[in-house]
Amino acid sequence: MSKKRHGAQMDKIDRRQFLKQVSMLTGFTLTTASWSAVLSSCAKKSKMLTLFEQDFGFASRKNLLLDAKNFYAIVDELTEVIIPITDTPGAKDARVVDFVDGMISVVYGKRDREFFLEGIAHTDSLARSMFKNAFVQCSEQEKIAVVKKLEQESASKQNDFFEKIKGLTIAGFFTSQIGATQVLKHIDVPGRYETVPYAEIGKAWSQ
């Protein structure tokens, strides 16, 4: 499967398809009202997440990454570069790698999964060619440089792996209990709806 085709497909992605992907990702009830709000607010950045193709081959195992230990470690590091620990927890704390594993093993179709696995291997080979080191052995700065390279490849439409891993990391992190409750503000049963000063909340709501 050509990497170029992926880039071209992203250009063509329409809002409806994007909406579909986002609403599938968010894991919330989207009523017509909130649904359209999501639609509109996402429209301008419609390149963020490309998940599904009409391809429904599926994996027989639930933890492909876990089974391929070096891939698991690469993704664990990669997600942490995308959402690092700061004064709040990061992707590793939230075990985003396990979310990614479930997504590519169970939710992704065959082509997307293969593309994704290729992307992981590609990340490692970038590290080896740039720094003569396996990605997981690279320093923080080196890992960031590798991910910058991935980002450039995505921006120039050579390979949108970066957008995919970024989309999965964001979704996995902010739907995790750690991301939702320690980085964002989460409330299960609000009990009321009203306008409040932003300063009273001070962060984005988790959902």
Binding site: D14, K20, M24, L25, T26, G27, F28, T29, T31, T32, A33, S34, S36, A37, L39, S40, S41, C42, A43, K45, M48, F56, G57, A59, I82, I83, P84, T86, T88, M103, V106, V107, Y108, G109, K110, I144, E151, K166, G167, I170, A171, F174, T175, Q177, A180, V183, V189, P190, G191, Y193, E194, T195, P197, Y198, I201, K203, A204, W205, S206, Q207
Partner: protein, 557 residues
């Protein structure tokens, strides 16, 4: 005999629930035939209390499982781990499309009343008179005054929160206190008042409680409605009508009961019961009653009539004049506009409101002055997106960005009226049967010129409203929808005055079989532009009243 009842109701969704409740409360021994499983309020909402992190794989279904839901997935928001149990598997319940038709179904006690959008708007005489005035389709056999008391009756039971606005084209109802608009919605409302004489913005009128009502709790603003509400805060058959029906001691529900057809008795010259196939055992059963209500959902109620063939009715009951299955309608939507309101970024919201704004129809209200007939209303709302909007680059920059909400965005999405076209139809394919041996449905329907012209105005006016309200970077949304996606399918067994051009009379009785009532979406003579469920409920309560009065007078025997 044990399979004889005073009344049979086919289907337990938004209209079947009301039919069963009304019949049972009037003392009739009532049998509900539900083709799916039982769903007990609260107990059978398995995902209602789950947090985002408790939903496997970000709530997305597996690639393997998606294979079963290829058509139900077309909404984009319904087939998730938290909701898939409310929707049929297309592999098990196939249908054909000569033209694309997105037929969304839930086969279980409560039907789509569990997953509905909860928006409730009354039709007005602008709607009831339009066909006659414009020479479109046929005239409705009723007017607003005929249904108004029944709207009030069901609204008081259901509990609708909303704001009275005094509009002729969108009559006020029996409202509980309205939900709140947020600061941007209030701003747009106020600017509209200044900028337009003919347009207002109001909070959505929804079957969601803003105070305890009839033993149900008020909305907790979780916005997890589609999973089933443990507070009973939105109306469903399960939280509302069915418990009341069962409490009378007069009503029972038989699950896994697929109604195959109506039983026509030649000697008595009337319909006496229904043929049922048990969905699990595939055994056939017959149930008998002097009153039968079809509330299986517009398409399925129509299919039952079509499949009720006999020497007397070779094309099915209600189909002597090739009207049945035609004039199928759905609202067209998914167009509008959105824009940004950064001046309010020092404000945010508390809570998640499963409701939005409503801008009532303003086109062709006083007179027809557009290049299309009828009109549309806008739904939508303002909000600030969170992490799902995405962000720049990666690392701390990205994390910090997504830790804050996006700028306020306001979205308007139109729902437009679809005219009744003879060529828009469903038929039964007897060569393609399902696993119960029932013929499957084939759709052949499309939006046409009037809808396309209206769609242009739906987009242009949304842009105009937002720009007049001072929105930044207003962008049109031109996506559009295929018939069915509105999940307001209706009209395939329409009401009318003349048996040659309609299937049902003004009391929702089949012209040819007066003890058979159809009070779901199939009965609609025109679609208006408003969400139709409360109209089905009002027509149902009205029809039951007539049915029971007629039965007492001996008019149905």
């Amino acid at each position: 005999m044990s399979n004889a009842y005073d009344a049979i109701v086919v289907g337990s969704g938004i209209s079947g629930g009301i039919a069963a409740k009304e019949l049972a409360q009037k003392g009739l021994k009532t049998l509900i035939l539900e083709r799916g499983r039982k769903v007990e309020h609260v107990t059978d909402y398995p995902t209602a209390g789950l947090q985002p992190w408790e939903l496997e794989n970000g709530d997305q279904v597996s690639a393997e499982e998606r294979l079963a839901y290829q058509k139900q997935m077309r909404t984009g928001y319904t087939i998730k781990n938290s909701t898939k149990h409310w929707f049929v598997k297309d592999t098990q319940h196939p249908y054909q499309e000569k033209k694309r038709f997105d037929w969304m179904r839930g086969y279980h006690e409560g039907g789509k009343s569990i997953m509905w959008g909860r928006q409730c708007y009354r039709f007005s005489d602008l709607d009831f008179e339009a066909n006659a005035k414009e020479g479109i389709g046929i005239d409705w056999p009723i007017r607003y005054k005929d249904i108004a008391p029944w709207y009030s009756y069901v609204e008081k039971f259901v509990g609708i929160s909303g704001q009275k606005e005094g509009l002729a084209q969108l009559p006020d109802g029996e409202f509980l206190p309205p939900m709140n608009l947020n600061v941007v919605e209030e701003h747009v409302r106020d600017r509209m008042k200044k900028n337009f004489k003919d347009r207002i913005l109001t909070i959505g009128r929804v079957a969601m409680l803003t105070q305890p009502h009839n033993g149900r709790g008020s909305c907790q603003y979780r916005n997890k409605c589609i999973r089933g509400c443990p507070y009973g805060a939105y109306y469903s058959s399960n939280s509302g009508a069915l418990p009341v029906a069962y409490a009378t001691g007069n009503c029972t529900l038989r699950p896994y009961s697929i109604v195959h057809s109506l039983i026509y008795d030649r000697q008595k010259n009337k319909v006496v019961g229904v043929n049922v196939i048990d969905a699990e055992t595939k055994q056939s059963y017959r149930y008998f009653a002097p009153i039968i209500f079809l509330n299986a959902g517009a398409v399925n109620s129509t299919a039952i009539l079509m499949n009720s063939k006999s020497n007397q009715f070779p094309n099915g009951i209600g189909n002597n004049y090739d009207v049945l299955g035609r004039y199928l309608m759905d609202h067209h939507f998914l167009v509008g506009a959105q824009g940004w309101f950064p001046q309010f970024d020092d404000q945010y919201v508390y809570g998640r409101r499963g409701n939005g704004i409503y801008i009532p129809r303003f086109r062709n209200v006083k007179k027809n002055d557009q290049d299309f007939l009828r009109g549309y209303g806008y739904q939508g709302g303002a909000g600030r997106a969170a992490w799902w909007r995405g962000g720049p680059s990666f690392g701390k920059t990205l994390k910090d960005h997504l830790s804050k909400p996006e700028t306020w965005n306001m979205n308007l999405m139109a729902f437009g009226e679809c005219l009744p076209y003879r060529s828009n139809r469903m038929t039964l394919d007897t060569n393609k049967t399902d696993e119960w041996g029932l013929p499957t449905v084939t759709f052949d329907a499309e939006f046409k010129e009037n809808e396309r012209k209206m769609q242009k105005d739906m987009i242009a006016s949304a842009v105009e409203i937002l720009e007049a309200a001072g929105a930044k970077s207003v962008r049109p949304n031109t996506t559009g929808s295929y018939p069915g996606l509105g999940i307001h399918e209706m009209g395939s067994a329409r009401m009318g005055k003349d048996p040659k051009t309609s299937v049902l009379n003004k009391w929702n009785q089949v012209h040819d079989a007066k003890n058979v009532f159809v009070t779901d979406g199939a009965c609609m003579t025109s679609s208006a532009c408003v969400n139709p469920s409360i109209t089905y409920m009002a027509l149902t309560a009205r029809a039951v009243d007539h049915a029971v009065n007629s039965l007492k007078k001996g008019e149905l025997s």
